[in-house]
Each structure stands twice: as C-alpha cells, then as structure tokens.
C-alpha cells in the first residue's frame, strides 16, 4: 500500500556516457564497458536505497533505448540509422528483418546482479510485444499481427526466466498501447501470451497517449498493475478512471519527468490524495510518470526525495505506519 518505486530508467553517469561513446568508436572493449555498467548499476541501487524507495529497478545502465536493446539481442532484427523522436532527440529504430528468435535470455544476468546488491525487491524490466512491433520497422512479416505475436512468444520465455531467477515483480512496458485504440485487442491478446502462467506480480507502464480512447478496455490487459502518468497532465486525466471502477492495482505517476522543475512535497501530497480519491489507497503504488533517463541524476533524486517524503506524509496522515 503506497509503496514507492520508479518506472525503470535512470540517467547514466557521465563516465558511462563517455564509455559508451568510446565503445561505439571501437576504443573500449565489451568487457571494459560492461564493468562500467555494473559500477553504474551498483551506484543506482545504492542511491535508490538511500532515498528510501521500496521497490527498486536496476536503472537500465546497459540499455541505450527500450526497444533497441532487445533488437540487438534477438535474431531476426537489425537497427536503422538515426530517426528523430522529438525536438533534437534521435534514436536508432529497430528493424524486424527476418523471423524472430530469442537465442538466449536477454535480461536475466543484469536482473540477478542488481538483486544481489539489495534486500529490497528489484523489478524485472521488459518492453512489451505491441510496443516492440510499433516502434520497429518491419520488412519481413506480412502483417502487424504476426509481428506482435512473434514478439509475444519470445517475451513469454524471457518473463518465465525472470520468474525462475527470483523476480517478484516483472514490468512489461507498453507505452505504445494507446497509439491505436483499434489494435488494443491485439495488444491484450499478445500480453496474455507473455504473462500466461506467471505468478510474479506483473506490471505494464503506458504513457503519452490519450487514456480516454483505451479505457475501460485496458483493464482487460492481463497484468496485475497498470503504471500510468498523471503529473504531466496536471492530474486532469484522473477523471477518466472514475467510471467504470478501476479494477487493477495502479502505479500512480506523480513526477513530470520532462520538466526540470522539482515538484514540492506539498504538490505531490495533493496529487496522491487526488489519486486516492479515484483508485483507493490500498491499490496504489507511487512513482514518477515515466523513466528518469531524460533528467540529470541530481534532478532525478531531488524529485524522488520529495516523492518519498510526500508518501510518508500521506501515510502518516492516514495512520498507515
């Protein structure tokens, strides 16, 4: 109840950014880069513990982008040159160029390492099948449905392996799911394949879309918890979830991760109370709107410090200690 967590990514420290550039230029070995990724993972786990979060993430220090990372691990995929995402931000878009296969687990080693560093639970982090399809070029499969279901089958194997490795929480992000409401049934069908028979708590993060177009059908997404943004819109999108009643657990976004401003404890408390009014306190986890990788480390932890303080204040007011 009112556990605190984050959505997944954290900013990479300067030494890791530089190392990634050197690695791309062939001036740093795979092993050299990997050592620095582990160092950054140790630091981010320690920082999350220090700030007092309840459920941790490994910080995605080894990932450049939430789809490209998996594209590099899968057989059948390639990576394009840069395409623009917004403003002056660009990314390398994955390409589905052949039949998809998972030759080996993609996230297990990093999950195990991060979990070994803390007694708190660490989330297993994946990108969902619908988003993997939607954010990739496709030159192989005839239909989008074929692509989505091919991703779903191999992601199921990854989720099963994460559970076997001890993950109590597995997050399968679907930020693209609100893009085409008419394809929501396909995304639901795919997620059913991914989470079939899984006992770990499953979570799906969805952002930057119009929730009105996917609610209430999104409640049929076969995960235990939906992780949604609210601070970015000034909490005006909360009303969408009043009717019909929200039936899942909610991870409630209270920090605008595209804004440098540090939200005050008071405004986060106010936001949480608005959320409680709609979702009920027993179903809520509190987190930022989205991954923090676009902020600086200082901004990220200043925001999180206030978030944790706000949750403590609300718990105290509600007598939840």
């Amino acid at each position: 109840m009112l556990d605190t967590t984050t959505v997944g990514s954290f900013p990479k420290p300067d030494y890791l950014q530089k190392a990634r550039t050197q690695h791309s230029a062939g001036k740093l070995s795979d092993m050299g880069l990997h050592e620095l990724e582990l160092q950054a993972t140790r630091e981010i786990i320690r920082q999350q513990e220090e700030v007092g979060l309840d459920i941790l993430v490994h910080g995605e220090m080894e990932r450049g982008d939430m789809t490209t990372y998996f594209a590099e691990k899968l057989v059948g995929m390639g990576i394009s040159d840069l395409v623009r995402s917004y403003g002056n931000r660009y990314y390398r878009k994955p390409i589905v160029a052949d039949a998809l296969q998972r030759p080996a687990p993609m996230t297990i080693e990093t999950f195990k390492y991060a979990q070994s560093l803390t007694d708190k639970p660490v989330k297993g982090m994946l990108t969902g099948p619908y988003t993997m399809c939607d954010w990739s070029f496709n030159t192989h499969y005839e239909t989008r449905r074929e692509v989505v279901l091919a991703f779903a089958r191999l992601l199921h194997d990854e989720v099963r392996d994460l559970q076997s490795a001890g993950a109590k929480y597995i997050q399968i992000d679907e930020p693209a799911i609100s893009t085409r409401p008419e394809e929501l049934p396909l995304a639901i069908e795919a997620m059913a394949i991914v989470t079939e028979g899984i006992r770990a708590k499953t979570i799906s993060h969805i952002c930057y879309g119009d929730f009105r177009t996917i609610y209430p059908l999104i409640l049929e997404l076969p995960v235990d918890q939906l992780d949604l943004e609210f601070a970015n819109s000034g909490y005006v999108n909360l009303d969408i979830f009043r009717t019909p009643r929200f039936t899942k657990e909610i991870a409630f976004g209270v920090l605008d991760i595209h804004n440098h401003r540090i939200e005050t404890v008071e405004e986060i408390v106010s936001g949480i109370k608005k959320g409680i009014d709609v979702f009920g306190v027993e179903k809520m986890t509190i987190d930022p709107d989205c991954g923090l990788k676009t902020r600086t480390t200082e901004e990220s932890f200043a925001k999180l410090r206030n978030m944790v303080a706000a949750v403590r204040q609300v718990k105290s007011e509600l007598g939840l200690h």
Partner: protein, 321 residues
C-alpha cells in the same frame, strides 16, 4: 499527366560523413560553441542538400524539407503572439512527439515563418517548390486553448495568422501552397467549420492550393471535398489503402494526389506494384500527383533518399521518359 511530389518534411541528418549535421550543430549552439547565425547557415546548407536530392531523384514538385521545424504547428505558434509551447504529446500514431502549443492570449501574426526557407529552396531548385502550412482546423486541434474558450473566434484568429503567412509566401513567389489537415479525418462533423476557416485563408489569393491528409481514413470527409476552395486533394493511401478509392471517387473538382510510397516503413515498394497503381489511376484521371504517404522524417536519411529515388524513377518511367 502523372507528376511526382513529396508531402513535406525530410530527414535532417545526413548519411554521408562530413555533411553538416543539424543535431550536432544544435548541441553546439546549446554549449555556446557556435552562434545563431552559424546555425542558420547550417539550416540553409542542409535545405540546399535536401532540394538537390529531390532534384536528382527526379521529383517534379519539391518541398524545402522543413529543416528548421520540429513539426507543422510549433514554428508558427512560437513566432506569433498568444502562445506558450508546452509538454510533449504523441504525434498521432507515431513514436514521435511534439510540444503542444497552448493559447494563452490573443493570437497575432508577427512575421513570416515559412517564406525564407521557401525562397531559398526555390532559388536552389530553379523550379516550382511547394510551401507547406498547417490548415487552421488542425492548428486548432493540435493546440490547447486556455484563453478563447470559443472555437469560432479561435479558428478565425488562426485563419488570420495563416492568411498572413500565405500572403508572405505568395509575395515570395509561391505557386503551390499545401495545407496539412491531419486532424479533420478524426472529426468529420467539423468539416463545415474547417472548410470555412481554410476558405477564408485563401480567398482572393492566387496560387495552387492543396489540402493534405495523412495517417487516417478520409472516408467520412471525402464526399464533401468540394466544400474546400483548393485545387489539389492529397491523401495517405498506405496507412489506409481504401483512401485511394475515395480519391478516385470523390476528387471530382480537384486534382487528386495519391500518397502511395510508404514514408513510415523502410521496406521499399516494388516497381511493378507501383506501376499497376499508376496505370489504374491514369486510366481514370488525366491529371494526378503521386507522392509519399506522409512526410519522410519518420525514416532514416538513406531510406528516405531511396524512397524519393523510387518515386521519381517510377513516375518518369511511367511517363515514358
């Protein structure tokens, strides 16, 4: 006669090492390593390259590639009175985002936004270049109104702003001016409103005006194309293949432009498939344009270049050149 054109934007980053890289130049501006004038020169250099690539590809009617723009509305909102530019919002059903203009006071045009790039591209091209603007209705829909609270007045002021832009373009020699109206397909009930606003923008001005739709189905608006005082109607026939039939059926009084080359996927169309489409179109219509399905900036540069080469080549071959 079939003629080729492109829809609007074009990748800003080059494939060729050593060519001007706008991303890097913007980073350098942020670090004060270059000044605004050097950035403007870089924009001009890239615009010239984009024009050259279209010319070399055999495109009949070019655009300036919108190299200075992030999207079709914020360049105009940020240069006018009455707007603030706010949070990131998804650009339709793409993994691309834009900053939503928020209307906070009376909207007033200050200076031309599109004319300079048009003039440069026109000089470089030595032939007709198509200028592209947002249609007033989509400008309204892509903005957040926190001031007018009156759709008619807001739309009228946006139309006045765009009319000033059109006057500046006509004065700069623009013979083809395209209005992008991608929101109207999703709000067909507003077509009379959208038509009235657009007609007020072009009334009494002399140019070939275009109305362009992408991403969605034109089925609900196509029967009323005659309400718009424009000469060309363009539609994305890749995202919704049935749009091709709608254009054939309803573009009686206007020249249709068929967006049949996919600008959102790197997979290259087969020449003979395109040829079949051209044959069908030219059997039914003496004059038509063939274009990309939408702006090319969803693609990496090398793919965009391949697409326009394909477009230019197949249309020329079809004409027997």
């Amino acid at each position: 006669m079939l003629k080729s054109t492109v829809t609007g934007n074009y990748p800003k980053l080059p494939t060729q090492k050593g060519d001007i890289n706008i991303r890097r130049m913007l980073h350098r501006l942020d670090k004060a390593e270059i000044d605004r004038q050097e950035l403007e020169q870089a924009f001009d250099t890239v615009t010239a390259r984009v024009v050259r690539e279209q010319l070399d590809s055999g495109i009949d009617l070019l655009t300036d590639g919108q190299i200075r723009w992030d999207d079709i509305v914020t360049p105009f909102a940020s240069q006018a009175d009455g707007f603030e530019i706010n949070g990131l919002i998804r650009w339709f059903d793409n993994n691309v985002y834009y900053r939503k203009p928020t209307v906070v006071s009376d909207i007033k045009w200050r200076k031309p936004v599109a004319a300079n790039a048009f003039r440069l591209a026109s000089t470089q091209a030595g032939k007709a270049v198509k200028a592209v603007l947002p249609a007033p209705y989509s400008f309204m829909r892509l903005s957040e109104d926190c001031y007018y609270h009156n759709q008619d007045r807001l739309l009228a002021d946006l139309a006045a702003l765009l009319r000033a832009e059109v006057e500046a373009l006509v004065e700069a020699g623009a013979e083809h001016i395209q209005f992008d109206d991608p929101c109207l397909q999703y709000h067909a009930e507003d077509l009379p409103l959208a038509a009235e606003a657009l007609n007020s923008v072009v009334k009494g001005l002399h140019a070939t005006f275009w109305l362009c739709f992408y991403f969605g189905s034109i089925e609900k608006i196509a029967p009323d194309f005659g309400a718009f005082d424009v000469s060309v109607i363009a539609a994305d026939c890749v995202s919704v293949p049935a749009n091709c039939e709608q254009l054939l059926r309803f573009a009686h009084h206007q020249i249709p432009c068929f967006g049949v080359v996919d600008a959102r996927n790197i997979k290259l169309e087969q020449d003979d498939i395109l040829r079949q489409k051209y044959e069908r179109i030219s059997l039914l219509l003496p004059d038509a344009y063939i274009s990309t399905s939408c702006g090319l900036e969803f693609l990496p540069h090398a793919s965009a270049l391949e697409k326009i080469r394909l477009l230019g080549r197949t249309v020329k071959r079809f004409r027997g050149e």
